[in-house]
C-alpha cells in the first residue's frame, strides 16, 4: 500500500463527500441550523444559564453522528452496490488502503464540522469552559463508535435499506440523543433506553467536559462500549459485495 495511493483516495473521498448536496446538508447545514434555531427560540428549559452552553456540545455530537454514521455509511453502501469496493480490492490500494483513506476522510470532515460549529457557537455567545482536549478526545471516540455503526449497516444491508435506516436513525438519535433538548425531558423508560445509545452517551460526556458539570462515568462506559463493539461487529459482518 502506497502513501500516494491512500492520499489520492482520501482526496477523492473528500471531494465526493463535499460534492453531494444532501451530504453537506446533513453534515453542516442541519447541525448549524439546529444550533442557531434552538439558541434563538429559547424553547429549551435547561439547568444552563445560557442555552448555547447546552446546545454546542450536543450539536458537536450531532455533527459527528452525521459524518461518521450517515455520510460514511451511505456512501460506502452505494460504493458496495456499484461494485466500487470490489474493484478497489484488486488494486494496489486494497482494502487496507481504502479503510485508511476513509478514516482520514472522516477525521477531516469531523474537524471541519468542529471548526464551523465552534465558530457559530462563539458568534452566538458561547464560551468554552476549558476541557477542550477532553471534548475532542470524546468526539474522536464518538467518531469511532458511529463509524462502526455506519459501516456495519453499509456492509450488511442493501444500499437502499441502508440509506433509509441511516437517515431514520439520524432522526431518532437526534430526538433521543440529548442534543437539542435535555434527556430528562423524555418519559422515564424512553430516557433509560436513550442512555444506552451512543448519541446520548456522546453528547452527555462532551457537554460535561466542556462545562463544570459532574462527569457522567456511566455515559462514558456506554460510549466506550459502542466504540469497541460497533467496529468489531462491522469488521466481522461486513460483506464487500452486495
Amino acid at each position: 500500500m502506497m502513501r500516494r495511493a491512500v492520499k489520492a483516495q482520501a482526496r477523492t473521498e473528500l471531494l465526493l463527500a463535499l460534492r453531494r448536496g444532501e451530504n453537506v446538508l446533513v453534515m453542516l447545514v442541519i447541525p448549524v441550523g439546529v444550533l442557531v434555531f434552538f439558541s434563538k427560540v429559547d424553547e429549551v428549559p435547561t439547568s444552563f444559564d445560557n442555552p448555547i452552553e447546552f446546545l454546542v456540545p450536543g450539536v458537536l455530537a450531532l455533527a459527528v453522528m452525521a459524518s461518521a454514521m450517515v455520510s460514511l455509511g451511505i456512501s460506502t453502501g452505494f460504493e458496495r452496490r456499484y461494485g466500487v469496493l470490489k474493484r478497489l480490492g484488486s488494486t494496489p490500494l486494497a482494502r487496507s488502503g481504502l479503510l485508511a483513506a476513509k478514516t482520514a476522510t472522516v477525521l477531516v470532515l469531523v474537524s471541519l464540522q468542529i471548526v464551523v460549529i465552534t465558530l457559530t457557537g462563539i458568534a452566538l455567545g458561547w464560551e468554552a469552559d476549558g476541557g477542550v482536549f477532553a471534548a475532542v478526545a470524546l468526539l474522536l471516540l464518538g467518531t469511532v463508535a458511529f463509524a462502526g455503526v455506519g459501516m456495519l449497516m453499509a456492509g450488511t444491508l442493501r444500499a437502499e435499506a441502508n440509506l433509509a435506516l441511516a437517515n431514520g436513525l439520524f432522526l431518532v438519535l437526534l430526538f433521543l440523543g440529548g442534543m437539542a433538548y435535555p434527556l430528562d425531558d423524555l418519559p422515564g423508560p424512553i430516557e433509560a433506553f436513550a442512555k444506552l445509545l451512543p448519541a446520548a452517551a456522546l453528547s452527555e460526556t462532551v457537554r460535561a467536559a466542556l462545562t463544570d458539570k459532574t462527569f457522567p462515568v456511566d455515559a462514558l462506559v456506554v460510549l466506550v462500549a459502542w466504540a469497541i463493539a460497533a467496529p468489531l461487529a462491522a469488521a466481522r459482518f461486513f460483506r464487500w459485495e452486495e
Binding site: R4, K7, A8, Q9, T12, Y82, G83, V84, T91, P92
Partner: protein
C-alpha cells in the same frame, strides 16, 4: 521452482451449495498470450476469472498468476489489471477524475489524459460516470484496468455494449497490450471477437472445459466439410445446386446473403461455385471451405455438454 506460464490453473473447483460452478478446470496461459474464455451464461467463466483475480477462494485445485497465489500475494495487485463484468466505477466521479485516481494507485502509470484519448473518451473527460453511455463506461473501465501498465490483464466481457468502432479500438488496445508482453485473459460471448483477437480459446460449459485450442484448430474439425459463403442475398439456390451437380436441398440461404452448401469441400466445388457467381457478376464477400465457423463449433460443443 518458477512457473513459465503467466497463468496456471490446475484442477480448479468452486461450488456454491450443490451447484458446481467450476468443476475441474485446468489450463495454462503463456506470457504475452491473448486467451479467450468462451461459454454460455452460467458456464463458470466469471467464477474462474474472479478466482484468478483473488476475489474468490477455490474449493479445490490451484491457481497461479505470474507465479503468485492471488489470494495471498498482495504484490500481484500492482502487476494485475482488472475489468469487472459490470460496475466498479464511482458514479459521481468524472471520467478524468476516476482515471487519474486509478493512475495514482500504481508506481509507474500511463498518462491518464493520453489513455483517455486512446480509448476515445477525451470528449467525455468531464462527464460524470453515471451519465456515460454503456459503451463509454466499458471503455473507461478498460482504461482503469490498463493504466497501471499491468503484466496480466483480466477482462470480463470487455466489449459488451460497445458499438463496432469502440469494439475495433478495444481489440487494437488488447493487441497492443499483448505486443508489449502483457498476458490477457478475456471472457466473451462474441465469436468473432474470440476468432479475431484470441491466440487460444477455451470453451467452457457446465463448469468444465469442453474444448481448448487456437481458433483455427477448433474450427478445423474433421466433420466440417461444408462450404459456406456470403454474397448478395436472393441467389437462385436451385440453379446453384444444379450448377454444382447437387440435389436442390443441399444449398440453402441460411440468412439473407449467407449460403451453406452441404457437400464435401473439394476444389471442384469451389471452382464451380465461383464460375456460377462470375456468370451472374456476383462477388463473394466471404468464403469458408472445409471449416466450421467458431460459432458452429461453440454451439455444437455446448449443446453436447448439456446434461
Amino acid at each position: 521452482m518458477t512457473n513459465p506460464s503467466a497463468i496456471a490453473v490446475s484442477g480448479l473447483e468452486k461450488h456454491y451449495g450443490a451447484t458446481r460452478a467450476v468443476d475441474g478446470v485446468s489450463f495454462d496461459v503463456a506470457p504475452g498470450e491473448v486467451f479467450g474464455l468462451l461459454g454460455p451464461n452460467g458456464a463458470g467463466k466469471t467464477t474462474t476469472v474472479e478466482i484468478l483475480e483473488g476475489y474468490r477462494r477455490p474449493d479445490a485445485g490451484t491457481v497461479r498468476v505470474l507465479d503468485c497465489d492471488p489470494q495471498r500475494d498482495a504484490s500481484l495487485r500492482s502487476r494485475m489489471g482488472v475489468m469487472l463484468q459490470e460496475g466498479g466505477l464511482y458514479p459521481a466521479l468524472r471520467a478524468r477524475e476516476l482515471l487519474r485516481l486509478f493512475a495514482a494507485y500504481y508506481e509507474d502509470p500511463e498518462d491518464a489524459d493520453t489513455l483517455l484519448d486512446t480509448v476515445g473518451l477525451t470528449d467525455a473527460a468531464g462527464t460524470p460516470v453515471r451519465r456515460l453511455s454503456g459503451g463509454q463506461a466499458q471503455r473507461l473501465s478498460l482504461a482503469c484496468a490498463i493504466v497501471g501498465r499491468p503484466d496480466v490483464v483480466f477482462l470480463d466481457e470487455p466489449t459488451a455494449g460497445m458499438d463496432p468502432q469502440a469494439r475495433t479500438a478495444t481489440w487494437g488496445l488488447v493487441r497492443d497490450l499483448a505486443a508489449r508482453g502483457a498476458t490477457v485473459l478475456l471472457t466473451t460471448h462474441a465469436m468473432d471477437e474470440a476468432e479475431h483477437l484470441c491466440d487460444r480459446v477455451a470453451i467452457m460449459a457446465g463448469g468444465r472445459l469442453a474444448a481448448l485450442g487456437t481458433p483455427a484448430e477448433l474450427t478445423q474439425s474433421a466433420t466440417a466439410s461444408d462450404v459456406w459463403f456470403a454474397a448478395v442475398p436472393g441467389l437462385d439456390t436451385d440453379a446453384l445446386a444444379h450448377a454444382l451437380s447437387l440435389d436442390g436441398t443441399c444449398v440453402v440461404e441460411e440468412r439473407p446473403g449467407e449460403y451453406l452448401i452441404r457437400a464435401p469441400a473439394t476444389a471442384g466445388i469451389v471452382a464451380d461455385l465461383t464460375a456460377f457467381l462470375r456468370d451472374r457478376d456476383v462477388m463473394v464477400s466471404s468464403l469458408r471451405a472445409g471449416r466450421q465457423s467458431l460459432e458452429a463449433v461453440f454451439l455444437q460443443i455446448t449443446a453436447e455438454s448439456q446434461p
